[in-house]
Symmetry: C2
Subunit: 361 residues, 2 copies
Amino acid sequence: MAISERKKKILAAVVDAYIRTAEPVGSKAIAESAGLGCSSATIRNELAELVAMGYLEQPHTSAGRVPTPMGYRMYVNELMDQQRLSIEESEDLNRRLNQKLQELDDTISDVSRLASQLTDYPAMALTTREAVTIVRFDLIYVDANTFIIVVMLSDHTVRNKLVRLPISVDEKMIRKLSTLFNANFTHIGEDAITPVLINSTERSADDTMGITAVISSFVIEVLSSSAAPSAFVSGENRLLNQPEFRDPDKAHRLMSYLSGGGHILPEGGLFPDSNEVRVLIGPENVAEELKDSSVVIASYDAGDNTRGLIGVVGPTRMDYSAVAAKLRFLADGLSRRLGGGEAPPEGMHNKLIIKGDTNNE
Amino acid sequence: MAISERKKKILAAVVDAYIRTAEPVGSKAIAESAGLGCSSATIRNELAELVAMGYLEQPHTSAGRVPTPMGYRMYVNELMDQQRLSIEESEDLNRRLNQKLQELDDTISDVSRLASQLTDYPAMALTTREAVTIVRFDLIYVDANTFIIVVMLSDHTVRNKLVRLPISVDEKMIRKLSTLFNANFTHIGEDAITPVLINSTERSADDTMGITAVISSFVIEVLSSSAAPSAFVSGENRLLNQPEFRDPDKAHRLMSYLSGGGHILPEGGLFPDSNEVRVLIGPENVAEELKDSSVVIASYDAGDNTRGLIGVVGPTRMDYSAVAAKLRFLADGLSRRLGGGEAPPEGMHNKLIIKGDTNNE
DNA sequence: GTTGGCACTCTCCCTTTACGAGTGCTAATA
DNA sequence: TATTAGCACTCGTAAAGGGAGAGTGCCAAC
């Protein structure tokens, strides 16, 4: 059955009111607020039909209406006025973002904290990197027992480690090792670092003291930790702001889930395109713990084959419009700062494109 | 008035039972549990006196007794059996600790996470460092637009930064700058880095492209971030396990306080000595938000003029004995791994020394 | 198709009641 | 003098009752 224009308006009014008040919405309130010139009785008829169509439900017979996940979905896809940030807001955001400019690895926790502060919901941030390789190797001789390993990675980050040896090495040996590692260990993946390679390098260097092994294990550590996606969740406690989480058990369940950050990853398959904000409403979420919460995610381009994701978790009664706008802004800002060239110019407000699972209706 | 032996036993029994059950303790329960051969009526008389003395209180006339902060204090100082960890527990702890061996800066979050997991309370970890200086400077030339700054600090950590320039530099310039910075910027504090120094270095290097400024600002960033104590709180959500935080508002208040981590610092003044675990009970805490919670803290020696602190927050009805033992173990383990030489040998169980504000009675 | 009216059905909140755990006191006992 | 048994009393909690109010569904009129 097609949904009439008036039904849409009424549905939107219900969702809007429910988002604001967290209480079932009655026909009278709608008649007064939404500017369609008809009485509460008419609204009641329409509401009954919206319930029959599955967009709304009643907690019990004589209560007002509450949107179903399907109702929210309709609202998100078609009805909500796609909120833009005001000039002041976006300036404020820009300022805060500019303060955070550091390496991406520091930023990921900041990003999630920022998203959480901004939206007043718990937020998570994560990045997945494509496999990196080492592009450059330097060993810095400090003293007879100490040297520093510095490696530059294909994603233009730099890692270092201070090595202290129980025995003495001379500067020549360090230089030799540096040359060898530059020749043998750059531009290869973690799986190419075999015992065979390590042994042959050790022999070439005349290294009888196991220095090669130390350096090799650092290489492996760097390559494997860079490949692993990192996640960060913050502001879990903001859940308690929401009336639907006044039940400590419910709140606790979700918070524990969120604290265990990594679990969000499996859903990483559905990375939204840049410029798109994805909304997952209640049962649309894969994770059992999220079945009655909603998640809004946006992704950003962190440059060098790295994509980042920022997400916000809240009750299904979430201010989708505001949250989506803020996330979009944040993601854009991050893309612009961290990412490749083709990011949109500073200050431009992108048209918001919001998508989600539309195939379940 | 002096407190008799029997009163002590009864008080201990009340605290023990209350820690276990979170419910006011009645005379009958004590008569049965504590092995002193007397009836509940006798216990009642004693209880009445303990109330008069301020060690216990009654929520209302016909309820059991609950320890007051003063009661807990007595318990912690004199009564509780100072729990040792079982062999299995300490082996498990050792294993987990060994896995976490990395740089201190990575570890601080791990430490707090570990402490939280271990105790099932929210935990925080923080370190204060003495001012560090740079002891060694290296600039690595990568290509005409790129070089890497590597600095080694007096605390034996190494920091690096990749610098990309809009203009070209040659290798000679980089070498010159490296020498100059090594000469002028090592072994000095942040406040010694004045515009005058930067300008003179810039002139000496014939640097017309502002590279000196870039490097200088990195130096300042490193020195200031190393001086700033860093804090980390985790497991806030475990608060919700405790029945006293079933009230979402109460839980939220404390959790927000904890999330804002830094606030704990002002109390840093009371760093416990190593080998001592400090317990702060309810009103003994300075922070308003902690007035009806308890904090257990231990400190460890992280080497190089750095002291770390691990703390656990919970309701006043906290299992002080178990928590103190675990924190002591953790702190010892960390001192041994990170710290100076005179740490106790591996595997030894230290005598627990527990102290606190005893001057308020 | 829309509206006013009205009986009906819920939940929410307040009060009442009953119950039981635990006390305080007193008088008896060792 | 310290301990104990007994008993009346207190108070909080949980279950049960009882409006009040918000909101519905339906019907008959427009």
